[in-house]
């Protein structure tokens, strides 16, 4: 039986999780040490398909800054983070932009969008 030790990063509490393979359980794993149900979901995901929300910036022209912050609409596979960065770093956009505007749609066929995390007016 395989056992993993992980720290839950869903909220600042940082529960220490023990995730054990368990064929009797519905989803194949047993999670211990979580203070709330989100920790269980995170623990199983972390040992099956770990994902991370990505925050970075995109080049923008016509605004009062040269970069605009963006965020992934959901977790991206951890393995693909650097590949996503390459795509995002090639993007150039022009102000005005509204918070929530989709900047890159369905990045790397993950079903996740990269969206602006703030608005920037045209200068």
């Amino acid at each position: 039986m395989k056992e993993y030790e992980k720290v839950c990063i869903v909220c600042p509490v940082g529960c220490r999780l023990t995730i054990t393979e368990d064929s009797n359980s519905n989803n194949g794993y047993r999670v211990e040490g979580n203070n709330c149900p989100r920790g269980e979901k995170y623990g199983i995901k972390e040992v099956t398909n770990p994902t991370r929300v990505l925050t970075t910036t995109v080049k923008i022209s016509g605004a009062h800054h040269d970069r605009i912050p963006v965020i992934s609409s959901d977790g991206l596979p951890k393995k693909k983070l650097f590949e996503c960065m390459e795509i995002i770093n090639d993007v150039n956009i022009v102000a005005p932009i509204k918070a929530g505007d989709v900047i890159v749609e369905d990045i790397l066929d993950t079903g996740v969008d990269i969206v602006a995390s703030r608005s920037m007016d045209k200068q």
Partner: protein, 421 residues
Amino acid sequence: MLNYDIVVIGGGPAGLAAAIEAKKNGINNILIIERDKELGGILQQCIHNGFGLHVFKEELTGPGYAEKFINELKSLNIEYKLDTMVLDITEDKMISAINTEDGFMEIKAEAVVLAMGCRERPRGALSIPGTRPAGVFTAGTAQRFINMEGYMVGKKVVILGSGDIGLIMARRLTLEGAEVKAVAELMSYSGGLTRNIVQCLDDFDIPLLLSHTVVDIKGKDRVEGVVIAKVDENKKPIPGTEKLYECDTLLLSVGLIPENELSSGAGIELDSTTNGPKVNESMETNIEGIFACGNVVHVHDLVDYVTEESIRAGRNAAKFIKKELKKDSHTINTKAKDGIRYIIPHEIRVENLDNTLDMFMRVTDVYRDAKLVIKADGEIVREIKKKHLAPGEMERIKIPVKDIKNNNISNITVEVQGKVK
């Protein structure tokens, strides 16, 4: 001369929340003065997510969190001046400020809210020997360069200090293609949140060197390397443990200091532990009608708490204008005892409390399975069990007013009982 009921100095999350709340409490003549070219304060450069879990129950980025307040401010038609620097405040609330459009201005306020935030401890405040080549930045400066101006600070980086800003920057630099060689931390524990150690360092295999410090910086024009050594219990480098890390950039993430030159100038009494003004239950300083909130009072790690505290400051500044703030009330002093570094507020005028007394504090060490013990004149009024306490994580305690109101308590103390980890 300009006249306002309330002038808020600083347009970061603290200033925004205070102004919005004052307006909602019936004060119309409010001005925010901000030296930067936009509102939002330091949040505008904190592009990572994790803000607003308490206030909005969702995870926002720093700019996203700021935008919610900026939009509300605008919809309430609260006046603000950007690119405007406050130079001086006097005890009778005369504010001198300057910008390129209006020139030098004198502004008379009935009440002032100080919300100037904090600044980073620069290299000068540390004693790292060695040359002074280019390539040494404070973490916050680097954050601003990369996230707002798109200027990459270096390719091979060492970070000194493992507080959240240092950790966040380690990930940010790595994602942008730099190699972060190590994060060195003088203490035997990280000042940052565990989740940040996991997702900013462990995810990218960046080593965290606890009980280590930078003892030398190499390079003439540009940083070429730094020497890191292990330190003993007294934080003194241990000879023979030095190791050279080749790098072109050193980031310093070694602490924040509340920005209080203006406060001192006005004769406001500061607490030597927090470096911020001493405040009462209403977030009012020792000068009547001058309030303070956010990082200018004490360094916060959660912006949500900044907002909470600033709402209180704004509401009470409005009460002050409406002459509803009670001056002569029974007063309780707070005192930090064993294991507690400081408590905000310093003084409590019981008559001004609504439903609860809210206290913010920090502990001095890392504790496990401990409890916070609150005593009124030596008698326990409440014990709060804590699995984990750390200096990097601010604690908040709420005490129902009924527990303290009708007694003639003269002081409230908080202490930690439990083992240092």
